[in-house]
């Protein structure tokens, strides 16, 4: 034991907060990724798992580079559909939630519709909308992304609009504030972080929905359509390269929405 201690270099002093050291929350996931890809490559090139079962990371990487322009343009198509759907779905969700929060009967009227929208299977709706709006229209996909985005935003907003604390409501009454003043001063600022939590959840759903909707016909060019096309041609490595593109697109949406959520929460969160 003492010999082992003697040969080990003295432990470096613990880095103080703010010291320039790469934090483990970056090192750990990167290490996991590198090891996983290494094991994967080893399985394919040394153990000999066949290419159509599991394309090697190197092959996927090569296709990724070769088809980068197509992946980028495909991301633009799918991302555009998702973004449009997200914006429209969020807007409608916020407006309807505001009405539902203001009038209880409206809330009761909307509840079953929202429940129905929440459980609509995208795979079932996509072929219907694609057929309805024609093979050359992106509208069906945008509508599906919008439907997927609507529910979390609606529910988040409705919840947020009811979060005003009793003491704040008392305060508004004490100051004889008009309903509009009370809404602007207390209800709305309380609701905003909840709205953007809904938008953050909706952002991922919108991308996935826009992507999956492309599997069921309609114009080519989106990531989802190309993934299914290349899979059908047995070009698995190429198909996986487009999947990587889809993951990146989903992450871009998620991080952008998370960033906006944090900015919105800063208004009411800790200010240290």
């Amino acid at each position: 034991m003492s010999a082992a201690t003697a040969t080990t270099a003295p432990a470096p002093p613990r880095p103080r907060a703010g010291a320039r050291a790469v934090p483990s929350r970056i090192v750990a996931p990167v290490a996991v990724g590198v090891i996983a890809i290494g094991v994967w490559q080893f399985l394919v090139s040394v153990v000999g798992v066949s290419d159509y079962l599991l394309p090697s990371p190197a092959a996927i990487g090569a296709e990724l580079v070769r088809f980068l322009p197509a992946i980028v343009s495909g991301s633009a198509v799918t991302g555009g559909n998702a973004l449009l759907g997200l914006l429209a779905g969020s807007l409608i969700g916020i407006l309807l939630a505001a009405v539902a929060a203001a009038a209880r009967p409206v809330n009761h009227m909307l509840a079953p519709i929202v429940a129905a929208l929440a459980v609509i299977p995208i795979v079932a709706l996509a072929p219907v909308l694609n057929t309805m709006f024609g093979a050359d229209s992106q509208f069906g996909r945008q509508a599906i992304a919008g439907i997927a985005a609507f529910t979390p935003v609606f529910l988040g907003t409705l919840r947020g609009l009811r979060q005003a604390t009793p003491v704040h409501r008392d305060l508004m009454r004490v100051y004889a504030a008009s309903p509009w003043q009370a809404f602007r001063t207390v209800t709305l600022p309380t609701a905003v972080p909840h709205v953007f939590t809904g938008v953050r959840i909706a952002s991922s759903l919108a991308v996935i929905s826009a992507l999956v909707a492309e599997y069921f016909g309609g114009p080519r060019g989106g990531l989802g359509g190309l993934i299914s096309t290349y899979a059908a041609q047995s070009a698995y490595a190429r198909s996986w390269a487009f999947v990587v593109g889809a993951v990146v697109l989903g992450l871009v949406f998620f991080f952008a929405a998370s960033r906006i959520e944090r900015l919105a929460a800063r208004g009411v969160g800790p200010h240290r």
């Binding site: 604390t165 003491v167 704040h168 008392d170 305060l171 009454r173 004490v174 100051y175 004889a176 504030a177 003043q181 001063t185 207390v186 600022p189 208004g267 009411v268 969160g269 800790p270 200010h271 240290r272």
Partner: protein, 271 residues
């Protein structure tokens, strides 16, 4: 304005409050008669469920009495609320966390259309009064509980009310902060000349602050006794009072009134 000094700040006669609940009616207040003179400091004290907070909420027109009449400066409680005749502070500071300290204090002024320049001047004055001038641009969650409560008091004083309603404002504070806040409150009241109705469940706090202590008892909530403090004028009280024999006598008097024992001490009147 001259009649403000002669009209009673609060006059309650025969006030009843019944809350309907699923388990039947709860008689929160029964036959409450109380007059608070202008500039007078009155504490409401009693065990949980004695209706002291309910009475305060009725005065503030946050609830309405089931029966009886309640006047604030000779008007209905509702009229007084609409006229902004009182300021109020709750047990929770109730600050808006997304507004700075200054913007929180400015809230009532802003809601009532005071021009930005006059608003800023008044806010500076108020923050000075509660000793938070250096914290104007901070947010509430950057302040200690005692500082937040001082912001809430500054906000309650923003429109120079002649009546201050306080519902256990120091209830969540530690004892040392609490004593300091009490002394500051007396100083502020002396400066503003406002009448105060102060809900508390601390006997020393009630005695230290008040001209009169209203002792309440539960089921149904009612006033069981009103004890007049035979102490210095509230404006002249300092920390020294906490070690004064007269102070302890008054604490004993209030405690005995609370526990319903025969009170034979001098300086106690039963109404």
């Amino acid at each position: 304005m001259s009649d403000v000094t002669t009209t009673a700040a609060v006059r309650a006669s025969g006030v009843e409050k019944v809350f309907p609940t699923r388990a039947g009616e709860v008689h929160a207040l029964s036959d409450v008669n109380l007059t608070v003179a202008a500039g007078e400091f009155v504490s409401l004290i009693g065990p949980s469920g004695c209706g002291k907070s309910t009475l305060l909420r009725l005065i503030a027109d946050l609830d309405e009495p089931t029966a009886g009449t309640l006047e604030v400066f000779g008007k209905s409680a509702r009229r007084a609320r609409l006229d902004q005749d009182y300021g109020i502070a709750f047990q929770q500071a109730g600050l808006l966390p997304w507004r700075t300290v200054a913007d929180n204090v400015a809230l009532p002024l802003q809601l009532h259309g005071v021009a930005p320049r006059a608003r800023a001047a008044r806010v500076a004055e108020l923050l000075d009064m509660v000793g938070l001038a250096d914290f104007a641009d901070r947010f509430p969650d950057q302040l200690s509980g005692g500082m937040q409560q001082r912001v809430a008091i500054a906000r309650a004083l923003a429109e120079r009310p002649n009546l201050l309603l306080m519902d256990e404002p120091f209830g969540a504070l530690d004892e040392m902060t609490r004593e300091r806040m009490q002394t500051e409150l007396l100083r502020i009241c002396a400066e503003t000349g406002a009448a105060v109705v102060f809900v508390t469940h601390s006997i020393p706090e009630a005695v230290y602050l008040s001209d009169r202590v209203v002792v309440m008892s539960p089921r149904p909530g009612r006033i069981s006794e009103i004890v007049t403090m035979r102490l210095d004028d509230t404006a002249g009280r300092t920390e020294d009072l906490r070690e004064d024999a007269a102070y302890f006598e008054m604490i004993t008097a209030v405690r005995e009134a609370l526990h319903g024992e025969a009170v034979v001490l001098r300086g106690v009147e039963t109404r």
